[in-house]
Amino acid sequence: MRALRLTVICGLLVLVWQAVVWLADTPHFILPGPARVGVTWWEHAGLILGHAQTTLLEIALGLVLGTLLGVVSALVLTYVRPARLWLLPVLVASQAVPVFALAPILVLWLGYGIASKVAMATLIIYFPVAANFFDGLRRTEPGWLDLARAMGASPWRTMWRIRVPSALPALASGVRVATAVAPIGAVVGEWVGSSAGLGFLMLHANARMQIDMMFAALLTLAVFAVAIYFIIDHVLRRALHWQPDT
């Protein structure tokens, strides 16, 4: 049912797009029609998918690193009091710095390759994961902690058996948000300076007035971004099947 709705929405959008092109009679270097973009995609599928691979790798590595860092930070903030007192304000204040502004510096430091883009994606993913998981860890049902104490549990086992599992739904919503923003990090990094990736392809095509190519790359990015989100969402749902539906 969801797939059907999605197909209908996409079909309608393509129709509107084609209608605008026909009615306004836009030149193809301003707004190419979906048919033209489709043909361009087909002709350059190898090139586009090659660049997509780079971007996907950046997103995937960013997700893994950002999630790991976020999880570790949340645990440290929860269990190490000085860390909470000293690091939490820094962490929150750091969010006032736009990640986009950091992109040129990261490219300068880490080079034109994949490292600077992975760093961008990691930075953008890190905060929602850390913030959500930390929140979840702090909101453990007090009754469970009482029960654990009455049962003679060690703090370590209380953490692994109760606090961490009970915070997993919060972690999952952090990861969902992170997944939605991860492509932004990677592509912004590519725009600032790169030699591969969909962002690079778009920038390159734009400079050469290959607007149909730009659209083909953009659509590819959108399709992959949505696909990643749905896959992650599905995996999280399966993993947390015990969670009552919200």
């Binding site: 009482d146 104490r149 009455a150 049962m151 549990a153 209380t158 109760i162 009970s166 015990w242 969670q243």
Partner: protein
């Protein structure tokens, strides 16, 4: 780690509290309070809400510290604790929840025994069920099985049946009374009828700071029949006492 058989094990009291003082959010709940729990008997604690019943129970459970006074638990034995909420972990099956104590202590859970406990509370077929798929009554049964699994001589229960509907509550009272018959039980409740059905010693806690008064020692073995006439007479008497305690201004704050 087994506590030595000390002199106290010869006494009739499983728990003894003397001169206990405890405050909550700046107000003194009780001071100079004394209570003895007789070994192998059910003691019920009645009183208006907010009077400090739960705090007293939490002190005995080791979840709160007394500001003054002494608490001695027979042989230093640890206690099992059962709360109003079932406190089941939603990510664990019924079986996993029953075995959680062993897991939290880093012991190997005894699967056979956990299954037997579920069987005892009538949930032998639900071992793999997640709590979200069980009814409120079934969930509290799992909590009871978890309490039995802990196998402690002293069991502390804080209104464990009050969130259940009347029929389920009556059934669970009977089940608990049967399964915990030999143990020292402290049951905190706001329901005088529940206390009369299950208790062998019934205390009323009232006032601020609160004091304890032995109100009733009903005849016969629990669980007593609900239709029992003497029970109903005692019920009326207890209700009057509780109302008087409440009117005396046990707790001026709204709840």
């Amino acid at each position: 780690m087994t506590p030595p058989e000390n002199l106290q094990s010869e006494s009739d009291h499983a728990v003894r509290i003397d001169g206990a003082r405890f405050g909550f959010e700046g107000s003194l709940l009780f001071d100079g309070l004394g209570l003895e729990l007789e070994r192998g008997r059910w003691t019920c604690l009645l009183g208006p809400s907010g009077v400090g019943k739960s705090s007293l129970l939490r002190v005995i459970a080791g979840l709160e510290r007394l500001e003054a006074g002494s608490l001695s638990v027979l042989g230093g034995a640890s206690v099992a604790y059962m709360a109003q909420q079932d406190l089941l972990m939603p990510w664990l099956s019924a079986l996993g929840n029953v075995s959680i104590g062993a897991r939290l202590r880093g012991e190997r859970p005894d699967r056979e025994r956990a299954l037997a406990m579920l069987e005892l509370v009538g949930l032998g077929g639900e071992a793999d069920a997640l709590p979200s798929t069980l009814s409120g009554g079934m969930r509290q049964r799992v909590a009871l099985a978890r309490t039995l699994m802990e196998d402690r001589p002293i069991v502390l229960m804080d209104e464990p049946f009050s969130a259940l509907d009347a029929i389920t509550r009556a059934r669970l009272q009977e089940l608990a009374a049967g399964l915990l018959a030999e143990r020292t039980v402290l049951l905190v409740t706001h329901d005088p009828l529940e206390a009369l059905r299950l208790g062998e010693r019934i205390y009323v806690m009232a006032g601020r700071p609160a004091s304890l008064e032995l109100a009733v020692t009903p005849d016969g073995a629990p669980p007593r029949r609900l239709g029992d006439r003497s029970l109903l007479a005692l019920h009326a008497e207890l209700l009057e006492r509780l109302t008087a305690a409440d009117d005396a201004g046990a707790d001026p704050r709204p709840h």
